[in-house]
Structures are given as structure tokens and as C-alpha cells.
Symmetry: C2
Subunit: 491 residues, 2 copies
């Protein structure tokens, strides 16, 4: 049975502002080891036995960034010639539409027997071996025609998660596993996020597990269940896929969901739309070191504390400080006489929150979004298909950017009406079209693009091209751009 | 009687880090109205009746910066053709050596009858009219041959200041003042910083005033008192002045104290060396809205609080925050569920302190200084005689600076062995010497200085020249510079 790790990469992670932003959401947060949550999710799936392709459902605007993330860690599962398929959403639409599209696509291309393993892009699973065993149990249950969930053994009366009540009386044997070990159990029922009293009761019961939001099922099983419980979602998703553009390449395929048709797919979660209604759901209880990294408290806890309970990343100078979580990127953070604070410093925004209020960071994000403040949406470093740019400084009539172009990548042939640009190459080598001229600009050389000149920048080399761009003009908005030809389809 | 406001500009203001730095000390801190404490001190003296010159004692490294500060606000006391004299110290040496040098210099150039009004560069005085009246009282007392101090009417049992005990029984009449009003009183004694119990007693006594550190005296009086109470300080200061270089210009004079000789002047405060020993000290009690802006609590208090007691400067987004003092310069500060914090954000460092621990911020400064961390000494914007530079970004083999050159100013003829420089003018116009070439570089033009080329940059215009410099090379330290010719005497 084919297994296709299916990564759902959505959700802003507004409680992890200022590191997470609308266009740099939670899955892209890097941990202390340099890997992002998304990379870890992809590796988690890719490393499973016999996996030869992955499927990722994500926002269209995050596609290039996601590809970059996967490429960066592909060597870790080296030897495997993996195909990374994508379904690109024009906007977020909850989990049921995402899973419907993924299931339909897998059924059409891999057959109804193929098995989807739905993974969240922004969770952490510390124990890969335990995870792999849980997946092999889930595959057995899925092969028996069940929808399978993964239930996390609770270790505290958490009120922020939904719970799964297990029918302990009907264990399903684990074929080929240790004697007496079951693969899983039927689900008695799903229960909503409880209050503390209920949560304590669930913790004590021994019959309640956290709903991790991961699933495993054969494509055909899910299609039948959707046909029964949410036929409108299934039909609208099918219609949407039919109207969507598909691109196929070597070890690559990409479905770009049609926005008009996707808007007609009802917005619902897979739990409400299918799981809670189906009588055919099993659960694999797991202890796999799972965390949903739901707030700065959880993310901070990944850093080891010092003698005073401070969890530090970056440069800090502390005087009488304890139990604080401090992350700094470039700046010196000085703290005096404070306790139980979360202090997160980024190039253009800093967060100071009481530790007990980590959940409320989402209100800051929401306010910034409502006000259209740039710090809810973008970091000062912005990802583009060809690389990144970072605004170093803006002043009256000038703007300075550091531009990094990936090897082999190029910026579209373009023209600006209102600004001229000076380009100084500080690392690597550029091939530049500047009006009628075509030239190479080497490290420590520069060129000048007058306003009105068509120009293109390309990195023909094998190393990153790093360039300083000094823009000069009366109007310097990013929207002063005419694209003539764009390899990324944006002209 | 000539009155010479004498501004002592020393002291780091380590409790006001990260805004104050060793080379941007407390007097240079700008308040909400855009004026620095130093500018306010200078204006305070310059605005007094009949003042035609000022004298400033400051560190040599702060000279150009101080001149810039004065030039910026000179128009406010416009019409006055003021001479700004300077005594430049090679290093800090407490108040007695500074006042000895100032007194000797005034006596030599203006005569022993001339009156010095010693002002701290980093205090705030809200009521200029009351201050002017206090000065006119002090001048009467000084004319009678007294050393005069200014005593601040206490309104709380402050334990951080020294106190002056007043001999209330012997008022000195205020000639020409309102009937019955005295000019001042003899000082009974100076008392050290008290504990809280003593401070409460002083507050209740009605006979104790805060020692503001401001003084008024005729040069001859101070010389006689020093001869009597600290003859070694006087003699060493006299010897030092004799060995020091003096420069005189139109409305300008500058004594550059000889470092070797200055080191021989005993390090002492004017209070210990003279005031506490003399029987000839009078005090003018004042209510002039004085504050020594000793910590972020005091500086924060200058901003009006919002409904929840938050005192805000800059961009912030708050959720359930109260009684915080937040200053942000360029970044968004988000805060959640915190109270009574001081949050100060600067381009390269951020401070988070409990409000009750504002005094302890000095420990952060001390630690950074001990570790030689750049954030104790410099801001990312560095002041030079010719203007400023700001490091925007440093990377492997490149560094990017924004350079601002004042109208008429020029950078020394210089050469770098290891780096070449690209200059892009984004505002104003530059005259550039580049090897054998001399050229003008206008806004939106650029030039390239190869390593090994002698070059000079000059702003021949009437507006600031703003330039982006992209340095490229194997070694980019500020010490890779050969100066051939420098109008500021640094070659």
C-alpha cells in the first residue's frame, strides 16, 4: 500500500508573533537546530519506509518558500528520489476542503487504495521511531477501511485541545507487532476542548487522548465517508479541482486551485465534517513526544534553562532576572529585575509578554492586522521565488536593500517608472540586462539602472549572489514595477 | 559683573542605557521636544541677561558633537553674538579639577571679578524665570565674596542626593528684590546622602535642601578658597593649563588639556575639596522645577501617562498593559499582560527593567563595558567632526554605511589598504577626490574608490550630503585608514 505523507501547511501562528507573520507563518519558524517546523514535518514523513512522494497543501504565496525549505533538507533523506507534489490554495479554507482536495488528487493519480498520512506542518514530534511505529499501526487500521486518528497520551489536564474517548474494550490486534500489543481502538466519541474540571476527569479516566490533528486513511475510504457525511464539500472540491491549473515536471507536480471554485467549497474542519460523524474511526494511542508548539511558552521550553530558569537564545545581559524566555536575533537585550517574562526580539518588532499570558499574544497580531501594520504580514527580509530581499533602510527619496539571488535564479525582466537603481555586488557574480546592454557584474563591481530601463538580474553562478541595491527616486513603492517576462509566471 | 555660564558636561548616565552610551552620554539624550539635555543647559545659561559667552568643560571626544548641539539651537537665543569657549579634558577627572581649570581660565581671560555660574549639562530645570531670579540672587551673594550653591526645596525623602543644611537665622537681604525676601542664607553644613529615616527627618525639618550641584562664584573667590583648602589641585591645574594647547578663533576658544599634566591633578569632587571645608558658602533656596533625570523613572515621567498609566513614545501595541514606560525609536513594541516595566528600544539594544529597579540599569552598562561590548560605547550612528555614519549592515567581506556630511564639511584625505568603496549619493552633492581625479557626484550618481586610492569627500553644498557607502574587502576594520591631511587635526 502506497503511503503519501500529506502536509497541511496553514495557520498563521498568531500567538508566535513577532517571529511568525502572515507570510512567514508558524511552520517556517526555525528552532535552535536551524530546522524549521515545516522541514521537520516533511522529514518526518519522507523518512518513513517506502515513501516515494509527499503532498503539501499550502497557500499559493508560500509555495516558493516551501519548496526552498524542502530543498534545503533534501540531503538528509538523500538517496531517496522523492517527488514533492503541491496543492496550492488561493486562501485558507479550513481542513476539510484541504483534505478533500488532497484525497481526490491522490485517488486520481495513485488510485483509491493509496494511503494518505495527514500531518500538520507546525507540530513537533521528538521520537521519530515511536512515530514510525504508530504510522505502521495506523496503516494496518487504514487497510481495514478505517479512518485513523493519532491520540496523544495526555500528561496534564490541557484545556486547549480536543479529546478522543477510546473504546478500550475492542482493541484491534497489531499484526506482526509484539504479542498482546494492539494497533489501536475504535473511537467512542470526540469531545470538545474541556474546562479544567472536565480535563482533570479525562486525565484520570485513562480513556481519553488528545486529538493531535494527524490522520491516516486510504483515499477510497475518505471519499466514501465524505460522500456520506459531507457530500457538498466533496462535490465542490471535485468541481474545483476540475477547474484548476495543473503543472507537472520531473519529480514535481503542482495543482493551483481555482479561486472562484474554491470559494464555493464549504468552510469546515475535517473533525466536524467527517470524523465526529463517522462510526468508522479508529485511534492509535501514541507517546511520541508530540507538541503543537502552541505559544511562546511551548517554543521557549525547547531551550534548556540556566540556573535561574532563564531560557536564552541570542545576546543578553541580565541582572537579577529569572524564569524568563528571551530570544534575540541581532540586538543586545538587557534585562533588570524581571521575572516570568517572554521577550522576543526581531529586526523590526519586539514582544514583551507575561509568561502566563502567552496565549494572548494573538491579540497583538490581530490588532496589527486590523491596522494594516507591516509587522503582522512581513519580516524585514522578504522571500521571493528567486531568493530574498531585506530593506536595510528607507529615507526620503531613497531605499536600500540587500538582495540575495539563488544560484541559477533570475529576477523577471522589468522596468520601474519612478526609480533608478544602483547595484553593487558584494558576493558572487551577476548577469545583468540593462537596457540594450548585457553584462556580467562581478564581486565588488557595480552597475546603474536608470528609471525607464528594462532590466533583468540573473545569478549564473553556483553560489548565492549578494547585492546591495540603492534605489533613488520620488516614489519607491514595490508596486512601481512593470514585468515583461517572468520565469515564475508573475508577468 | 560678567557672568559666564560654565557647563560641566561629564558623566556617562549609565542608568539611562541603552539611550546613553560612553560616546553618547546622558547630556546628549533628546527629550520629547527634540532638544537634548545639553542644549537645554546651554540655552538656560545663554538666555540669562547680559551673558555674552559660555564655557564648557567636556571630554575631548565629545567636542565636535557638543559644538553641533550648540549650533543647532543657537538661533533660539538669536541676536546674541555668543562666544562658546571650551576646555577639553583628555579623560574624566571629577568636578574639582574641571572647576579649577575653568576658574583659572576665566580669571586669566576675563579677570578675577568675573563670575562663573557652574551648571550640570544633564539636569532639567522647568522654570526658567525662577531659575533666572535664583541666579540674580546668587550673583549678589557672589559679589559679596561668597561661594554660592543652589539648594532645591525637597518634596520627598530622597535618599539619592546630598543635602545642604541652611542657617535660617542669618538671611542675606535680596537687594532690589521684593520686600522681606532674602537672597540666600549661609550654609550650616553639607550632609551626605542620608538613609530613609534621616531623609524623612530632613524633609520635615524645613532647614534641609537638596544639593543641586550648581554653583556661582567670582573667579577670585574660588581661587582664594582653593588656595586655602586644596592648594595641590589648584597648583596642578595651573601647571596643566600652562602645558596645554590653546586654539582661538572668531567667537571660539578651545583649551586642550595636556593629558600627562592633567593626570597629576588630584581626582576630587568640588564638594569635598572646597565646599564642605569653606566657612564662606551661601545657598540660594530655589523652586525651579529641577530634576537630575537620574534614571528611566525620571526620564519616563516627562511623558504624559495614558488612562492606564503608560508613558509611551514611539510605536506600540498593548494588550492589558499598565504603568509601563515604553520608548521605541524605529520598531514596533508589542506588550501583553505586563505592568510596571521600563521598555527602551534602540537600533542595536533593548532594555526591559522593572520600574522599581531603574537604578540597577547601571549594572548592565558596567557589565557591557567590562566585556567591551560595542553597545556600551557607541550607538549604531557614530558622530564625527564632519557629520555621522551609521552602519546599516555588516556581512562577510562587506559593510554598508549611511554617511551624512554637514554642509561645508569634509572627510580627511585618506586611503585604505584593504577595502574599496562604492559611494552612491542619495541626497545633496559631493565633491570627491579619487586618486588623481577630482569630480562632483550629484544625487543619484555614484563613484568607486579602489583600495589604495587616496580619496577625500567634501560637501560643498548648503544641505546635508547623504551617501550610501558599500565597502568591500578582506578586512573592514575602522583602523584600516591612513590620513594624509585632516582639517580636524587627526592626521
Amino acid at each position: 500500500m502506497k503511503l503519501i505523507p500529506t502536509i497541511l501547511c496553514g495557520g498563521a501562528g498568531s500567538r508566535l508573533w513577532p517571529v511568525s507573520r502572515e507570510l512567514h507563518p508558524k511552520p517556517f519558524i526555525r528552532l535552535g537546530d536551524g530546522q524549521s517546523l515545516l522541514q521537520k514535518a516533511w522529514l518526518r514523513g519522507a523518512a518513513l519506509p517506502d515513501v516515494v512522494e509527499t503532498l503539501t497543501v499550502t497557500n499559493r504565496e508560500l509555495f516558493f518558500k516551501t519548496e526552498d525549505e524542502y530543498r534545503e533538507v533534501a540531503d538528509i533523506v538523500g538517496g531517496k528520489d522523492l517527488t514533492n507534489r503541491f496543492i496550492l490554495e488561493p486562501f485558507g479554507r479550513n481542513t476539510a476542503p484541504a483534505i478533500a482536495a488532497a484525497t481526490l488528487q491522490v485517488a486520481a493519480t495513485q488510485g483509491e487504495d493509496a494511503c494518505l498520512l495527514v500531518l500538520a506542518a507546525d507540530h513537533l514530534i521528538a521520537d521519530q521511531a515511536a512515530f514510525a511505529q504508530a504510522v505502521s499501526k495506523a496503516m494496518q487500521l487504514a487497510a481495514q477501511g478505517r479512518l485513523v486518528t493519532f491520540g496523544i497520551q495526555p500528561d496534564m489536564p490541557e484545556t486547549g485541545y480536543g479529546y478522543i474517548e477510546v473504546d478500550l474494550d475492542s482493541p484491534v490486534p497489531f499484526v506482526g507487532g509484539p504479542a498482546g500489543e494492539s494497533a489501536g481502538f475504535p473511537v467512542a466519541r470526540f469531545v470538545e476542548k474541556p474546562d479544567l474540571e472536565k480535563a482533570l476527569e479525562y486525565l484520570a479516566s485513562g480513556r481519553h487522548l488528545w486529538n493531535s490533528g494527524m490522520f491516516c486513511f486510504q483515499a477510497g475510504t475518505m471519499l466514501r465517508e465524505m460522500q456520506q457525511h459531507c457530500p457538498e464539500i466533496l462535490a465542490a472540491s471535485r468541481a474545483c479541482l476540475e477547474q484548476s491549473r495543473t503543472a507537472e515536471g520531473k519529480s514535481f507536480s503542482q495543482v493551483d486551485l481555482d479561486a472562484t471554485a474554491f470559494k464555493l467549497v464549504p468552510d469546515d474542519s475535517i473533525d466536524y465534517a467527517v470524523m465526529e460523524k463517522s462510526s468508522n474511526v479508529a485511534v492509535v494511542p501514541c507517546s511520541i513526544g508530540w507538541s503543537d508548539i502552541g505559544s511562546w511558552t511551548a517554543l521557549g521550553a525547547l531551550t534548556a534553562p540556566d540556573a535561574r530558569g532563564n531560557r536564552i537564545e541570542g545576546e543578553v545581559t541580565l541582572h537579577d532576572v529569572s524564569n524568563c524566555c528571551i530570544h534575540s536575533n541581532q540586538r543586545m537585550v538587557g534585562a533588570v529585575g524581571v521575572n516570568d517574562l517572554i521577550i522576543i526580539d526581531t529586526p523590526d518588532a519586539v514582544l514583551i509578554a507575561d509568561r502566563s499570558r502567552a496565549q494572548d499574544v494573538k491579540h497583538i497580531y490581530a490588532r496589527l492586522k486590523a491596522e494594516g501594520h507591516k509587522t503582522y504580514r512581513l519580516h524585514s527580509t522578504v522571500h521571493r521565488p528567486w531568493g530574498t530581499y531585506t530593506v536595510l533602510e528607507e529615507g526620503r527619496h531613497f531605499k536600500i536593500k540587500r538582495i540575495e539571488v539563488k544560484p541559477g535564479a533570475s529576477i523577471s525582466l522589468q522596468m520601474h517608472h519612478h526609480r533608478s537603481e544602483h547595484w553593487v555586488v558584494v558576493s558572487g557574480m551577476a548577469r545583468v540586462v540593462n537596457g540594450q546592454q548585457e553584462l556580467f557584474v562581478n564581486t565588488n563591481e557595480s552597475t546603474y539602472i536608470p528609471a525607464g530601463h528594462k532590466h533583468r538580474l540573473e545569478n549564473p553562478g553556483l553560489l548565492n549572489l549578494v547585492m546591495i541595491e540603492v534605489q533613488s527616486g520620488e516614489y519607491l513603492g514595490e508596486d512601481d514595477i512593470v514585468r515583461f517576462d517572468d520565469v515564475y509566471g508573475r508577468s
